[in-house]
Every structure is written in C-alpha cells, then in structure tokens.
Amino acid sequence: MSAAVPQGRRPRHLTIGRIGIYAFLVTAALFFMLPLWIMVVTSLKPMEEIRLGNILALPAAMTFEAWTKAWSSACTGLECNGISVGFWNSVRILIPSVILSIMAGAINGYALSFWRVKGANVMFGVLLLGAFIPYQVFLYPLVRIFSLTGIYNSLTCIVLVHVIFGLPTMTLLFRNYYAGLPIELFKAARIDGGGFWSIFFRVILPMSTPILVVATILQVTGIWNDFIFGLTFAGRENLPMTVQLNNIVNSTQGERAYNVDMAATMLAALVPLVVYFVSGRWFVRGIAAGAVKG
C-alpha cells in the first residue's frame, strides 16, 4: 500500500508546538505540586532527618508522630491540646454559618428575581457595593456594635458575621441562577395559589440543587479559611482552626518543630482540600455562574 487514502479520523502528529505546550503544562503542574510535596514529606520525617536539610527527599524513617502531636498535644500559647480544639471550633462555626448564609442568599435571590420588589435593583446594587468594601473597614464599627448588644466574643457573633459578609456573594449567585429559570414557572405557581414561602419551598428550592452545591462549596471553603473574623469576633473559647494554627506555628519555645507545623497546616487545610478534590467540576461552574451574568 502506498499513500493512505484520507478516510475516517485524521491522523494526529506530535508537532513541536504540542511538545512545547506539554512541557509548559508539566512544569506548571510540578511548580504547584512542589509545596504540597515538601509539606507531606516533611510532616512524615522525624526532626533529626529534617535537620539534614534534604527537603525534597522521601523520609528514611517514616513516622506519624508529628501528626498525632499536631492534632492532640501541640502547644497553642499556654495550652497544649493540639489543633483538634480548633478543628471542632471551626466545625461549630462552619455548620450554622454555611446553612444560614445560603438560606439568606437563596431567599434574597428569589425575592429579587421573581417578586420584582420595588427598588430591587437599587437594593441589589447597594448589596454588591458592600462586597467591594474591604473587610478591615467594618471591623472596628462591628466590634463596637456587637459589644453594645452584648454578643461580642461568642459563637452567635462569629456566625452572624459570616452570614452578613456572605450575603452579597450568595445573593448574586442565587439571583443569577434564578434569573435563568423560566419566569412562567413562577407565574404558574402564582395562579395555582402559591404564596411567597410556598412557591420558594415547594417549587423553586427543589430546582436549586446545582446552585446549592456551588454555594456550599464556596461558603465551606471561605468560612473554613477565614482568619481575621475568627480572631476578631469568635472569642477565646471559639477560636477557629486557622487562628490556632497560627498560634502553633508562631509559638517559639526552643527548637522549631517543622514536622509538627507542617502536619498542623495539612490538618487545617484538609477540609477545603477535600471539598476541592471532590467537587472540582461544580466549583468551576460556581465561579462561572457568578461571573458571566451580572
């Protein structure tokens, strides 16, 4: 057989351009994998091995000692109960904050896109404006307000803060999603006699699964990673994991335990990491949903 007759799938050739693209992608991937690699191997080494300075090398004598220490006995200032205290604090902050902020955003978005409240656009604009003001501006006034009302330094306080600051993004997210639903569904429900709440809970909310997933991802990662609000509003008893991590890493008594620091950091990052890995597809969709339609 001589030259092939063109038929079926066109054969692909590896061109120089292709090789360049792959080389770039591999380099980029390695670059972003490197810190994670160093953290994992360091956390699994005993201190003697770390002192040798081969930070990229695999552990010769693998040990989980640093992880147990980080979890249950590392010192955060004067107390030495590990980062587990912070973990459970974070969970206690996370669950009510996520649920309440998503519900508030969903109801807001629903009211804005279906009920066409008078001045809805102005209200929405003001809400969005709030999202662009740096958080630091709010800190002191909010501290004063909360101490006046007597809920400063409590779980209620930190949850309330997360709900308030989640409102602009959550409203935007749900409003845009609901703007894409056919308005006729809402009209049909009105004719069928549904009121504000019955239409929301029986018709709209059951259709919101995709955006609820997206909102959950955004809020879980956002609230879990929060540092400044937790430090400012949660109070000593409820300090979230991020704040405790900082305390562990920054408390310098004698030798710096790099392996414990690394393990503690990994533990603190675990929840968002799991969320990212499990929900990559949804996460991208969430970013797109927030960005495309304004």
Binding site: P182, E184, L185, K187, A188, A189, R190, I191, D192, G193, G194, S198, R202, V203, P206, M207
Partner: protein, 359 residues
C-alpha cells in the same frame, strides 16, 4: 353577560406606557383569540387579565366581579403557558394537584378531579411520570390538565402551541377546540401570533398592533372585511395583494384606477363615502384573482411558481409591481408565460392610502 371585561386598562412598565385605556368585553363561553405580531401587547393583556401584572389604571372584571386588585388565584382563572411551566421536581399527578393542594381541597376531591382531567386528555398512563420523561406534546397536555382541574370559568392560553412541531401543533389545536366544545360554558382567551390557530379556533379574533386593538370580529369578518391595511396584510397567507391607485368617477360610476388598469366598483359595499381622485390601496386576496383569457387585466407575466400541493401560488408581474395568484393545485405555469387576470369587484377591499382605514 360578559365573563371577562377589560375596562380602560392602562399598563405601565416603569416609564413606558404599554396600554392606554384599552377595553375589551368577552362573552361567557366565548373563544377569543388575541392575534398580533410579537411586541403588540397581546401577552401583556393576558397577564393583566390573569393578575400577574398590575394595571396602572382601569378595571378588570371576571364573572361579574371586579378583580382588579385580586390575587391571580382568586380570579377564577386557569392558565397554560408556552413553555408548559410544569414543576420539574413533581410528577404529573403532583403537578396537576398542586393548585388544589394550595387551596386546601380535600384529598378525595383532588383525586377525583385529577382522574377526570387525566381521562379527558388521555394522560392517565402518564400520571406517575416526571415532566422530563414526557414529550413536548405530552407536557402541554399535562399543562392543560393542570389548568383543567382548577374548574375555572376562564382559561387563559399564552401561545400554548408555539413550542411544538407542526404536526403536534395541528393535533393539539383540534384537541383544544374539542375541549372548548366539551366544556361548554368555559370562556377561553388565547394568545397567538399564528393566524391559522386564530382562524380555526376563535369565535372572535382580536387583532392587535403596537398595543392597540386594530379589529375585533369573527374570523370571517377579519379575513374578508379587514378593518385596515395592517389587518389585511397580517391575516392571510400568502399575503393579500396591495395595488396603489386612485378613484375616478366616470360616467358609469366610480372605478379604481392604477396606471392604465381599471376596475369598476359598482358592486362594492362602501362604508365610507369615497371621493373622486382620492388616493387608495386596493387589496385582493390571491384566491380572488383568477387567471382567465377573458379577464379585465391583461399584460402580466409569470415570475415564480410555488406548487403547494392543494393549491399553486403563481407570482405574476407587470413590470411595475407583482401580485400573487392562488389557483388549483393541478394548475402549472412556466416563468415568462403571459397571463390575463380577472378581479371580482365584490371580493376586494379598499383602503384609504393616507390613513390605511377601510373604505
């Protein structure tokens, strides 16, 4: 007594006024079709009747009750939408009973009504399916069923067949007509831009353009005696032929003159007194033009021939303008062939050239 009465209604979207004092009376049991191009306000009017849109001024009466400030659910109406608007997370049975559940109807009553409507529409085997497991035609049937269980006095249809393919559209159109006959005293208000739906379904057609009612009349009146140039041009396919000309009073009476073509108007029923020399537009439906060797208008040549099966449309031109002639389906012609046309003066429509109104 009329079931639906729209009295001097004004609807405003922010600064834009949509209707300015629009009125319409609909009789009990009547099938009314609101017909018009998109953006003419027909859907807005329907939404105002349904109460999904607040009116700025005027009143809406349904069944002898002023419902202007009532919620949609309290108006005694049911509505069917173009996009079906079925609740996606409920099955057919739940979709149909949702409204009754909201109204706290007792369960056995709900079941009875759903079963009855399902049987009427032949969707009983579909009751446990979800909307995404139904075809377009089935979905619209369910949507009609959902309206049916409400036992409403007035049915509102918002372009219910526009999302369906041609074959299903014809089927469901007949079914809606049958349903109306079966329900007897139910008033139906039906919005469409499809003139065939309007002609076949309506007792009376309301032709709208730019938020104004152009003509209200039976399909027959609308088709044969259009009130103005817009109605004449909008209804009918292929379109009515329009020929510009003027009146001339000769010895034998008034006639229409376009170039050297003349048409005696002795049999034409004028509703406005014509004056000699007035600029007018002559409207002739393609089926009212006849190809005849003894015709009064010679000198046409065949331009394009469109065989449509049941009939053939022949485009003829005389150098200045072209007209469409509808002839029998078996008639054939070749482009370039010369033709003589005949016009029956009792079948034409005359419009004033300036106002577009029927003369």
């Amino acid at each position: 007594m009329s079931t639906v009465s729209v009295r001097d209604v004004t609807v405003a979207f922010e600064a834009v006024q949509v209707f300015d004092g629009l009125s319409l009376d609909i009789q009990e049991g009547e099938f009314i079709v609101l017909l018009g191009p998109s953006g003419c306000g027909k859907s807005t009017l329907l939404n105002a009747i349904a109460g999904l849109l607040d009116v700025a001024e005027g009143q809406i009466w349904i069944n002898g009750k002023n419902v202007t400030w009532e919620e949609p659910k309290d108006r005694g109406i049911a509505m069917v939408f173009q996009s079906y608007a079925l609740y996606p997370r409920m099955n057919v049975r739940e979709n149909m009973s949702f409204g009754l559940k909201m109204a706290k109807t007792p369960k056995p009553e709900i079941e009875k009504r759903v079963a009855k409507a399902a049987e009427l529409l032949q969707i009983t085997p579909l009751l446990d399916r979800r909307p995404d497991q139904l075809s377009g035609g089935q979905r619209q049937r369910v949507a009609i069923g959902r309206a049916l269980v409400r036992d409403a006095a007035v049915f509102l249809f918002d372009e219910p067949l526009s999302n369906l393919d041609a074959k299903l559209r014809n089927e469901l159109r007949v079914e809606i007509k049958r349903l109306h006959a079966r329900l007897g005293k139910t008033t139906m208000v039906y919005v469409t831009h499809d003139q065939i739906e309007a002609m076949t379904l309506a007792d009376r057609i309301v032709v709208m353009k730019e938020q104004k009612i152009q003509q209200i009349g039976s399909p027959d009146e609308i088709y044969h005696r259009p009130a103005n140039l817009f109605v004449a041009g909008f209804v009918g396919s292929p379109q009515m032929n329009f020929i510009k000309g003027r009146f001339e009073n000769t010895g034998e009476g008034l006639s229409f003159l376009a170039g050297d073509r003349r048409l005696s108007l002795s049999g034409y029923p004028f509703i406005m007194a014509p004056s000699s020399g007035q600029e007018v537009v002559l409207g002739v439906r393609p089926e009212h033009l006849e190809i005849s060797a003894t015709g009064i208008w010679p000198g046409f040549t065949v331009d394009i021939v469109e065989p449509m099966g049941a009939d053939t449309v022949i485009w003829c031109s005389d150098g200045e303008g072209s007209v469409q002639v509808r002839t029998s389906g078996s008639r054939r012609a070749t482009p370039g062939e010369s033709m003589t046309l005949h016009v029956d003066p009792t079948q034409v429509s005359l419009f004033a050239a300036d106002s577009g109104e029927r003369l």
